[in-house]
């Protein structure tokens, strides 16, 4: 069967989605500690940075890419220094919360995290069929 490119939560998108879930879970389970190791947030940041750098280099004029890069640069502004300058992975919980919010915003704009239904009308017909036959 012929295939076409479709933006969606598979491949690298799925990887990012799952990684972000881990970041979120880690934050909710460890937010009692004010200053702690949050390695996943660093790795997530580096991954998003790699993605946006790649997108920017391939199309520097793209408005969305420029907007997302601006969003990501907010992280360094919040911390007062580069994420790559940390000698270990410890972050203050309030900084982590803000960083996570920025990363979530970027992932949503990229379409990696989506809320609501993402199924096409045709997929819906098939899902409905299963329901109807029950």
């Amino acid at each position: 069967m012929e295939s076409v490119d479709k933006l969606g939560p598979a491949g690298f998108g799925r990887f990012l989605h799952e990684a972000f879930d881990v970041v979120q879970n880690e934050r909710s389970s460890e937010n009692v500690v004010d200053f702690y190791y949050h390695v996943n947030a660093f790795l997530m940041y580096a991954t998003i940075d790699a993605l946006l750098s790649s997108m920017y280099e391939q199309n520097p004029q793209d408005t969305l890419t420029r907007e997302l890069r601006d969003e990501l640069s907010q992280v360094d502004r919040i911390l007062g220094r580069s994420m790559y300058s940390f000698k270990d992975a410890r972050l203050k919980i309030e900084d982590l919360n803000e960083i996570d919010a920025i990363m979530e915003k970027i992932l949503r704009k990229l379409g990696v995290i989506r809320s609501g239904t993402v199924e096409s009308e045709d997929n819906n017909e098939c899902a409905m069929m299963e329901e109807e036959l029950k």
Partner: protein
């Protein structure tokens, strides 16, 4: 072959994702408490990237590298320059070769360790290589929905509208559809039918299926023909089509028969679809070759058995299965009955039957739950277009174009009137011609008498008291009450067997 293509032919995405996962886990595992990490944490991903660069750089030269590899080599060098300065990197390269071949930072006391920030910076460049090269992509490969559209062509002779049978057919069509069709439309349909029939007889009907993806014509496609043979009308397998009333299920059957006669001239199609010439002698001249009326399971088996010695393929399509009249004995063991039925039809290599329902609840449970067939399909109307959905194949078949005329009123009911278990036990051969001969000669011996059953049922109802299962407390009625209970129990027992 370009270098880009060469890259894509090596390895698989799976290894890259595994390496990415492993790298992430390794870094997490150490950095969660430490600031000095092992370079081995990112080794797997680095090795993949390096192998991609080396296999071209070493054998064909750096100039032949694709842009993303050149970019990585440049960025990796830049990173080292940022960490230790241009002079130190140049010195290293003078004696040891390109710096991209070195994983560990030049700052470390050994090659095995790196600081958290150094690892993170390298991790970013490795991931970026994966993204630049297209291995890590947000664009997933997903099969799109395909629409299959058919084009049926045959020569048109407008003179046929003066043919008496054609005029008669137009009259019946108008009578049947009343206000839903104009006289001119009825005449046009009848004329088209006569032309189609002429075309069938002289082999001038052409049928082409085309695949359309997102509105774009992708050319000729034969998948509907294989779908028909392997799913919709598979040999010895029941398939089910359902759709809401008014969706056009009878129209679909008519459409399907119209096309099947072109694609499969060796098929004998048995149906209960109300085709006008089944009932009107005056339309005999317009009747389709190889399409026959059936009204019961026994008739279906008998007529299919007639196709076999003529080396023709019996095919069964049945409309209005919601209205089917079924023997009580069949219903009591529905699952087994259908399975046995399919074993019998395999003796005759019958295709189908394709059963059409408009109420999902009317679909026998063994089929609805896909216990005896996986081929359950639905029809849907989107706007003015009708589609048959093949969900597993992500295909929808557009039901458009000419279809033979059929009546919307006076559907022929279908009776399930054969004791399948008894018949199957009696067929003592697997040879198709012998099976056909046996069924042709003996089918009447295995028929349920549905009229008799109906009478029995009426009598039983009359015997039952008005208040159902309640027993009158009056002593004189007590014995009668027990008799009724006993009879009911006995009947249920028989049904459960």
């Amino acid at each position: 072959m370009s270098t880009d293509e060469k890259f894509k032919s090596i390895g698989g995405e799976k290894f890259w994702y595994e390496a990415l996962d492993l790298t992430w886990d390794n870094i997490y595992g150490e950095a969660v408490f430490l600031s000095s990490l092992y370079t081995a944490d990112i080794l797997r991903l680095y090795e993949l990237v390096r192998a991609e660069i080396d296999h071209i750089a070493d054998f064909e030269g750096v100039d032949k590298l694709p842009w993303y590899s050149k970019k990585f080599v440049e960025d990796w060098r830049q990173l080292n320059v940022m960490e230790v300065g241009e002079e130190a990197v140049r010195l290293y390269e003078k004696t040891d070769g390109p710096i991209y071949k070195r994983l560990a930072p030049l700052t470390g006391s050994d090659d095995k360790h790196a600081d958290f920030d150094q690892i993170l910076r390298r991790f970013k460049l490795l991931v970026k290589f994966g993204i630049d090269s297209g291995v890590f992509t947000l664009k997933e490969k997903e099969a799109p929905w395909e629409t299959i559209v058919s084009t049926l062509n045959f020569p048109i002779n407008k003179e046929l509208k003066n043919n008496e049978a054609v005029r008669e057919l137009a009259r019946y069509l108008k009578e049947d559809r009343e206000e839903a069709i104009s006289n001119a439309e009825a005449t046009e349909w009848a004329v088209l039918h006569a032309n189609y029939l002429e075309g069938l007889k002289n082999g001038s009907v052409t049928l082409d299926y085309r695949k359309v993806i997102k509105g774009e014509d992708r050319g000729s496609d034969s998948s509907f023909n294989s779908f028909t043979k392997t799913n919709l009308l598979r040999t010895g397998m029941v398939s089910v089509l359902y759709c809401k009333a008014g969706t056009g299920k009878s129209h679909f059957l008519s459409w399907l028969i119209t096309r099947s006669l072109v694609s499969y001239p060796n098929w004998d199609i048995y149906t209960n679809l109300p085709l006008f010439w089944f009932d009107h002698k005056s339309l005999e001249g317009l009747s389709l070759p190889n399409v026959y009326k059936i009204g019961s399971m026994s008739e279906m088996l008998y007529k299919s058995a007639l196709s076999v010695p003529n080396k023709r393929q019996p095919v069964v399509v049945l409309d209005e299965m919601d209205q089917v009249l079924t023997s009580r004995k069949w219903n009591s063991k529905e699952n087994l009955s259908w399975e046995t039925f399919m074993n019998i039809e395999r003796h005759l290599k019958i295709r189908g039957p394709l059963l059409v329902y408009h109420v999902t609840r009317a679909i026998p449970e063994p089929m609805r739950e896909r216990r005896i067939t996986e081929f359950v399909y639905k029809m849907v109307v989107h706007g003015r277009m009708k589609y048959l959905y093949n969900c597993d194949g992500k295909q929808k078949i557009e039901i458009s174009g000419f279809a033979i005329p059929y009546a919307t009123l006076g559907t022929f009911s279908f009776q399930i009137d054969v004791d399948m278990g008894k018949l199957l036990r009696s067929i003592q051969t697997t040879e198709i011609n012998e099976s056909a001969t046996f069924i042709k000669d003996h089918i009447n011996e295995f028929r349920f008498n549905l009229d008799e059953e109906e009478e029995e049922e009426k009598e039983e109802k009359e015997e039952e008291p008005d208040n159902g299962h309640e027993i009158d407390n009056d002593e004189s009625n007590e014995e009668e009450g027990y008799k009724i209970i006993f009879k009911n129990l006995k009947r249920r027992g028989n049904e459960g067997k």
